[in-house]
């Protein structure tokens, strides 16, 4: 994308800014739409209506929330550790925003075509933990501290099954680049990794069940990484009041929210790229059919965002269905169930790939 804008504008600064702005806009939009969607989805699942009185069906609700939070007083307790307290939301937001650098929205719209994209994604998303720990510690609140401790152990534990599944997919595709992974699963849904990948043969059908298992494992563990129910233990409302951001208000809190919804979309994007063809269209490209090739990237953006939002929707759906796990059960789920399954899956996919 940088190259494209550089050629277009001839200015390094402008090109860099635009390249950075696209993910930023996406994060902000993801938060705005995500919060609205969350409230609407939850409301309709509960036989309610959700926001109705700001615009048509409350469509500006999150805008109102945002403007309101902008003008809230920044109430800070005198006992907090000021530096860490102020730094934490920034760090959390940076972690979730930086993840967007390597996510390919289409074959053209991608922050940086890093060869080690998926590695970078896993690494940078761990930055969130540091922010959360800082927030919890500096707030000088016992609930925050408990939430932060829980969160750290949770996110670090769930990195492992995520990484193992990613590893198996890296083994299968033979690349670390998210863009290449997407390209390999060419248009049409039967080429997606969840259905055994683009290579047609006996191995394809053998792979399908293991791909599904892999998908379930990575979906569950990414769910835990972004602290969504049933794994929202760090911010467990009925136990820890609001967890690590108990003491935050106004815009600082909004940044936590932004990063949460940004992360939700990012991990959905990751799942999409690994298993559901990334930005590839399930039914072939319209642009191809009518011979207008410049349309294809736009179609790809549409498909990527649609798939991403679908998985975000499933996250919400799960959230409003399930109760919350306890902190030790969360750990046992990870260490006793997900990791063994993920390892077995890794070995089997490895063997099938070698065949």
């Amino acid at each position: 994308m940088y190259q494209y804008f550089y050629e277009l504008l001839g200015s390094e600064i402008l090109a860099t800014l635009i390249t950075a702005a696209v993910p930023l806009v996406n994060v902000l939009l993801a938060a705005l739409i995500g919060v609205y969607l969350e409230r609407k989805v939850s409301a309709h699942m509960q036989d309610r209506l959700g926001p109705m009185r700001t615009g048509w069906h409350g469509i500006f609700q999150t805008v109102a929330d945002f403007i309101k939070m902008l003008q809230k007083e920044d109430a800070v307790s005198t006992e907090v550790d000021k530096k860490l307290y102020n730094l934490a939301p920034v760090l959390v937001f940076t972690g979730s925003f930086a993840a967007y650098a390597v996510i390919p929205f289409s074959s053209k719209v991608i922050g940086t075509e890093a060869e080690v994209g998926i590695f970078y994604l896993l690494a940078i998303s761990s930055l969130v933990v540091a922010g959360i720990l800082m927030a919890g510690w500096s707030s000088n609140n016992k609930y925050s501290l408990l939430g932060a401790m829980r969160s750290a152990s949770q996110i670090i534990s769930y990195e492992i099954p995520t990484a193992i599944v990613v590893l198996s997919m890296v083994m299968y595709t033979g690349t670390l680049s998210l863009d290449k992974m997407s390209q390999m699963q060419t248009a049409y849904f039967w080429n997606w990794n969840i259905l055994g990948g683009a290579e047609f043969g006996f191995a394809k059908f053998l792979l399908i069940p293991f791909m599904i298992v892999g998908f379930i494992i990575i979906y569950i563990s990414t769910l835990a990484e972004v602290n969504r129910t049933p794994f929202d233990i760090p911010e467990a409302e009925s136990e820890l009041v609001a967890g690590y951001f108990t003491e935050y208000c106004g815009m600082k809190w909004a940044m936590f929210m932004l990063s949460e919804y940004g992360n939700m979309f990012a991990v959905s994007g990751l799942v999409t790229i690994l298993f559901f063809g990334g930005y590839q269209s399930p039914l072939g490209y319209f642009g191809d059919a009518i011979g207008v090739h410049w349309m294809i990237p736009f179609e790809q953006v549409f498909w990527f965002i649609a798939k991403g939002w679908f998985f975000v929707f499933v996250q919400m759906w799960l959230r409003w269905t399930l109760p919350r796990l306890r902190v030790d059960q969360l750990m046992s789920l990870c260490w006793k169930y997900l990791i063994p399954y993920a390892f077995v899956n890794l070995i089997i996919i490895g063997i099938i790939t070698l065949l």
């Binding site: 036989d47 926001p51 309101k68 409302e237």
Partner: protein, 163 residues
């Protein structure tokens, strides 16, 4: 008060428009402190439940006072609890609003006469914006109180009141 409140001494068209925008944002997203005291809390829960749905007005319960805009005092305030309520109120960031729900919060309710242990009206410890009468008020009555509060917010201004 909030970030810009009472910062301006003379009004102009810009400030008036910003006023409108800010007030609109404030009134359409009053987040309530999820905090139940007594009988009225059940009606408050019923108001957030499917039939009346507080969420339509953008009201969602937040459990920490730091993220709340409004506190609904729903029930009898005993002297022991009054200190806590005052503290909760002080922890909320400005701008903050209070709805006093039900007779007990309004003035001690059925307990005002013989209740040696009951605060006779929550307005003795914190400034109340809207009084919703009822024992307990119907959910619609609470919604009406909320509409009254919105009406009050709509008329707020960033301008300093001339003395």
């Amino acid at each position: 008060m909030g970030l810009l409140d009472k910062e301006f001494s003379d009004g102009n068209i810009v400030i008036a428009k910003v006023d409108d925008l800010f007030n609109w944002a404030r009134l359409s997203s009053i987040w309530q402190l999820g905090f139940g005291l007594a009988c009225c809390a059940i009606e408050m829960m019923a108001t957030s439940a499917s039939h009346y749905d507080f969420d339509r007005f953008g009201v969602i319960p937040r459990n920490t006072p730091r993220q709340a805009d409004a506190i609904i005092i729903s029930g009898t305030v005993t002297l022991k609890m009054a200190l806590r309520i005052k503290r909760l109120y002080e922890q909320m960031p400005d701008p903050k609003y209070i709805i006093s729900m039900g007779s007990c919060a309004n003035c001690g309710g059925p307990y005002w006469e013989h209740g040696y242990h009951v605060l006779k009206g929550v307005d003795r410890v914190i400034p109340v914006d809207v009084y919703v009468p009822g024992c307990p008020p119907r959910p619609e009555a609470l919604l009406e109180g909320l509409l009254k509060l919105q009406e009050k917010i709509r008329n707020e201004s960033l301008r300093k009141k001339s003395a």
